[in-house]
Structure formats: C-alpha cells, structure tokens
Amino acid sequence: MSQREGFVGTLGPRIEGTPLLEVEDLYISFEGRVGLGSGLLGKKATEARAVDGVSLSLAQGEILALAGESGCGKTTLARTIMGLEKAKSGTISFEGAQLGRNLRKYRRRVQMVFQDPTAALNPRQTIYESVAEGLRIHGISRSKDGVSEEQLVARALSRAGMRPPERFFLNYPHELSGGQRQRVVIAGALVLDPEVIVADEPVSNLDASVRGEILRLLLQLRDDLGIAMLVVTHDLGLAWTIADRVAVMYLGRIVEVGPTEEVLQRPLHPYTKALLDVVPEAGGVDRPFLTGEPPDPTRIPGGCRFHPRCPAVASGASAAAGVEDRCRGQDLGLLELRPNHYAACHLAALETREGNGQARVLSTPETSTS
C-alpha cells in the first residue's frame, strides 16, 4: 500500500504456532453517496475507512477482546471475519487456509453471537426451531456418531445452561427472560460445534445481575470445549473479567494489543490510558477525559491518527521528548515495546526504549511486503 511509505511496525502481531483464525492486512471501506448535482460537478463520494489495516490472530481456545469507542471499526471487523461484509483488501485464514468464495464450511466452524438476543431470535419460532435452524441450513439431520437432531439441540441448550433442555423446546422467545434468550442464541451457535465464536457485545443488553452468568458461560465453553472467542466490547471491565488478550482499536487500526494484565494495568498507548481513565469508579468524576466527539472514519488524520486528540501531544509531552514531528507526520504501526505487548505510539516507543537502555532512535523503517 502506498500509504506505507516510511511505515514502521506491524499492523498486528503474529502469535506463536499456527493461529486458528488469522486476519492479515485487512482494509474495509464504505462509500458514501453523492448527490446528483455534486456528482455532475465531479465530486467524489466520501469513503469511510472503517477498518484501515488490521492484522489479528486468534489461537485455539483463546479469548481475545476487541475494545474501542463506537465507530472505531470493531464491529465491522467482526462482521467481515464472519463474511458478512466484504473486505477491500487483505486476507482471512482459518487453520492456515485462506478463505475463498465458498464460506459454507467455514461458517459452520465460526459462529456469531449478536448483541441483542431479542432481535436475534425470530419471535414466531419456538426455541427448538431457533436452535435447530443452523443444523438445517447446513443439512445436518444427525451427527457423525448418529446423534439425532433432537439430541443435538438438547445438547446445545444444555451446554448453554438451559436445563433440562426439553422443557424449553416449545417455548417462544417472549416467554423467556433476557438472560435465557441470550443463552438460546448461544445454543444456536453451539449446535454446530464451532471452533470459534465471535461475540459482539454479548452482555451489554442484559441486566447487570445476569451479565456475570453469561460471561461465566463463555469462559466455561472455552474451558470445556476449547472454543476460541473474539469478544467485541466497549467495556474494558468485561475484558478484564474474561479475556486472555486485549486489542484496542482506534479509527480502524489496532493501536495496542497484548496480554490483558499488561494492556489494562500497564497501558502504553495514550488512547488506552484515556479509555481506562473514563471507566467509572468510586474516584469521582474529576478524571481526565478526551474532549471532542468520536473521530470520523471519512477523515483519518495524517501522521499518528490519534494525534489531534492525544493528551501527550496537547500537553507538550511529546514535544519535550522530541517526537512531536513524528506524531504529526509519521503514520506508525504496532511495535513490540514489551514482550508480546505492542503499541503504536512514537512517545511510548521512545520511553520504553530509553527505559530498556536502548538507542533513542526508532529503528529504520521496515521494508513493507505489500
């Protein structure tokens, strides 16, 4: 890509071994509409770069939380992984094999759980029908070991914590509570024996006291069945509770990624720090927060894309460290600043390198492969 001239770092770290699911150099954009008049005047449609270069890998049985403000591209990324949106460029691989046109097999193994269980379930379908739908779409009437559809549905419901499952077969969604509905949605995903579950804000529509149980269920499914999960959330507390790794997205890019304890307790990127600062806690409302509205993916700033809102730039900290020109002028990717802990920040790069007693200067730009 042309914008990679002088680009340092990577768009996402590779993990050890063969990842179960791997996303490389993914770009997704949406075209805006142009009115007839302005179209005749030669005005181009604005392009929203929702995902602007992301690489991501998910290991077997791993829970990765993808966090960020609304509009940062996290849901678009999740939907594209599911094959619900088309990428402009980049690849998605499952077990080392790049996805082609036929997604049917892949879709069986990677299932999605949506935010709002009430919207995800057909109100006129019984619970049994809702859970069995996936099996029917994939033409499975009994499993390889001769288990019937009814038994498969019962097993999925029971794994999702609806016990005894037969009791719910003929219920309709409106007869269930919010938590139970989300369990049915999860059972609908489990019935196909997936290896990956992509969950978009799986608990944000649920009552506070019910959330914990659903999160506990997700953890249990990982432990018992080895299912890997990509959990999209705006809630860093949720990430702290269940994720092995956290990736923080800002304006279509991952700006920090690493083990949960590292990222949430020793954040490197000023944006991650800002997100952590606004997590409500008993400290009172007088905490620093970023001013301004969530950024606009049709107008991604040059240089570090966070620099117009960056507290380190505003306070002069990056100028004092002598990196302000780079903040404003050089787009950078993720750098491994601590073991397995990556961040895309000129200032953090300088500070950690100084802390490690290494050279003050950033390494020369890597030659880009694409």
Partner: protein, 327 residues
C-alpha cells in the same frame, strides 16, 4: 424541609391481565443540593418512580402514598398547579436523548418553549436565556438554530440538560442520562451534570442500572429490587461494603480493572429478576440469594438499620450472622 420527600409510594399499572405492582412501598428524601442515586435492573420500578414524581404515568395507573415536593403533595395537586410546578420546581432528563427531541424543530426553540409556556419571559428574553443555557452546558451558542439531526448524541443530551435547567428547578431527575452514549461522551456528560449540580446547588435524583456511574455522582445510594428499596446509605459505603447480598452482586457486575478477585471469575447471580406479577414470597430476593436460609421464604424483611445512616432489607442484617458452613 427536604426538597423531595417520598412516603410509602405504591404504583400499580392497570392492564387487561390485572394490576401490575411496579413500586411496592418506597420512601426516601432528597435534601437541597443532594444527589440521590437510585440503582436497579430493568423492571425494578426505578423509572416508574421518576415518572410518578412528575405524575407522568399513563392515566388509570393507581398511585398511592405521598410525594412531597417542597412540602406540597404532587399527588393531590390540581391540574393547573401541577402544570405550574412541572419544570419550574422539578424537571427530567430522559434517557435516549436522540428520541426525546422533536426532529423538525430547532433545538433553541424547543428550549425556549418551556421558558415561554411557564411565563418566565417573552420570546426575546427566552432567546437570551437559551443562549446562556447552551453556554452553560458547553455548547456553542450558534447551535441555537440547529436541528437535532445536526447534533451528535452527546450534544443532544446536552440540549436535554439545558432544557431541564430552563426554568431553574430545584430538583432535576436524571433517568439513565448517559446509557445510550459512548464511553468517552458518557464521561463528558457526567462531568457536566456533576459540575452543574454543584454550581447551581441542585437536588438530583440520578437513576441508572450502572452502579459504578452512580457512586461517582451520588451522595447517597438507594438500591431497588422488585419494586422496593433493599439498601440505602452513603454512596461509597454502599458500593464498597454492601450490606445486602443483591447490592453485592450489582457492585460485582462492574468490576474494577485490576481487581484480581474478578479476573477470569465473573460475579453474577443465578436466575433472573422476578416479574412484578410474580413476586416471590418472603424476601423477594431469596430464590436468587446465595445466603438465603430457612426464614427467607416466609419473612418479608423491612429496612433494618445497618450502620450509621444505612439500612438494608435483609434478615441477616437484623440478626446475628448464623453460623452456616454451606453458605
């Protein structure tokens, strides 16, 4: 005298299937300049209380008890008096600002409407006041002629706040004012509400399900479950050392980042909140309570004293902790 004093409030919604008791005997006071946080899950009755205070409930709803606003019972006011009191004495910031504004009217006119209707000025004075209000809530005064769709979610919520302040009320009810907003914008709006509350010495009733938000802005907290208050006290004390098992579960639903207790161990309760027509016997929380014992299904606990300025409706608070191994 308290700004707001609610005594033994009961609210029953009328439906074809029979009455639905949404609020079952709630009492609380809010003093001048005080913020009371009301927490609970959907269906616990907290928004019903907000609407009851300004008598905004659907016709036919049965409301009993007392709601004393500056000593005057709202439930006994004549319609004319009620209209005069609404917005000038007490106002509401609703949740979902995006839907509460009229999409075809300029935001400035919508705020001015309240001022003019309540006879607090003519059109010209109202416009001046609106400009000042917008500035107060951190919006550039040129936004006065914008339509709602030209504003972002956070800006619309600011307009709603300006509207609530238009007639200088002494009590503002904020019903989930930040729920639909993004995290960063939520922090901005909370700060704004908090600053305004201090600046204007407002009394506030702040309602949300998010206990971690409430504890930031409130002086006192009241936790509701199944139409009743089950715990009340100073905000920090209730949040950090809850006396009622339900408060403990709510506090655990919003874990502090870095707290090893919750790492890979989400806190939650089994079961679901009860439906208002199907309230369990005895303590309504007992089917979900991890500490329930033999008396809980039969004895309905009142609010027992649980420390200085604190009360909790739990039998365990009222009597010495029974020594039970399996609890």
């Amino acid at each position: 005298m308290s700004i707001l004093s609610v005594r033994d409030l009961h609210v029953d919604y009328r439906t074809q299937a029979g009455p639905i008791p949404a609020v079952r005997g709630v009492s609380f006071d809010i003093e001048k300049g005080e913020v009371l946080g009301l927490a609970g899950e959907s269906g616990c009755g907290k928004s019903t209380i907000a609407s009851a205070i300004l008598r905004l409930l659907p016709p036919g709803t049965e409301v009993t008890g007392q709601i004393l606003l500056n000593g005057e019972d709202v439930l006994r006011m004549k319609p004319g008096r009620l209209r005069a009191v609404r917005w000038t004495r007490a106002s509401i910031v609703f949740q979902g600002a995006m839907h509460a504004l009229n999409p075809v009217q300029r935001v400035g006119d919508q705020i001015a409407e309240a001022i003019i209707i309540h006879g607090q000025g003519g059109e010209r004075e109202a416009r001046v006041r609106v400009g000042a209000l917008l500035e107060q809530v951190g919006l550039p005064p040129r936004r006065i002629d914008d339509y709602p769709h030209e504003l972002s979610g956070g800006q619309k919520q600011r307009v709603m706040i300006a509207m609530a302040l238009a007639c200088s009320p002494s009590l503002v009810i904020a019903d989930e004012p930040t729920t639909a907003l993004d995290v960063m914008v939520q922090a901005q709006v909370l700060k704004l509400l908090n600053d305004l509350q201090h600046e204007l010495g407002l009394a506030m009733l702040f309602i949300t399900h998010d206990l971690s938000v409430l504890v930031e802005v409130s002086d006192r907290l009241a936790i509701m479950y199944a139409g009743r208050i089950v715990e009340e006290g100073a905000a920090h004390e209730v949040f950090e050392d809850p006396a009622h098992p339900y408060s403990r579960a709510l506090a655990g639903a919003f874990p502090a980042i870095g707290d090893q207790q919750y790492r890979m161990a989400p806190a939650g309760l089994g079961g679901d909140p009860p439906y208002p027509t199907d309230i369990p016997s005895g303590c309504s929380f007992h089917p979900r309570c991890p500490l329930a014992f033999e008396d809980c299904p039969t004895i309905d606990p009142e609010l027992y004293v649980a420390g200085t300025g604190r009360r909790a409706a739990c039998l365990l608070v009222n009597r010495p902790q029974p020594v039970e191994a399996g609890a």
